[in-house]
Symmetry: C2
Subunit: 83 residues, 2 copies
């Protein structure tokens, strides 16, 4: 079993209203030092062992997990230590 | 300027309906090998340099970014390379 961690982030230049809201909230809580906040997604997949995990995960990202028009993605594959 | 990357994940045992929906969708797209999917948040913060960045970010997580009842968080602090 493999554990795949996918990081999905907005491309540079794409407006991030959710991030802006988080930044504003942090400011009103007294964290004035936050100059920018950007929100992305973090997805953990547990995948059966097979040969072409990397190609398959790339296809998952393109077809479902990310919106390639406005989002970038990257992923890491490691051995799953399932408890 | 520091770049802080915050990872927020559901605690083990907490149901993840969004992850379940992603898993179901991946299955119907033909990715039968996905045994589990769990969705978390990935937050990038750009923070002015100051002494106690780590303590401040921990406070941000506790007060706003994460829900400590059902979520775990961890973060990494690096030098920002702002373009």
């Amino acid at each position: 079993m493999k554990k795949v961690i996918v990081f999905i982030t907005l491309k540079q230049g794409v407006l991030d209203p959710q991030g802006k809201a988080v930044q504003t909230s942090l400011h009103s809580l007294g964290f004035q030092e936050v100059e920018e906040a950007r929100i992305g997604k973090y997805i953990e997949l547990y995948v059966e062992d097979q040969e072409n995990v990397s190609e398959r995960v790339q296809a998952m990202c393109e077809q479902l997990l990310a919106n390639p028009v406005i989002e970038d993605y990257r992923f890491e594959i490691e051995e799953a230590v399932h408890s």
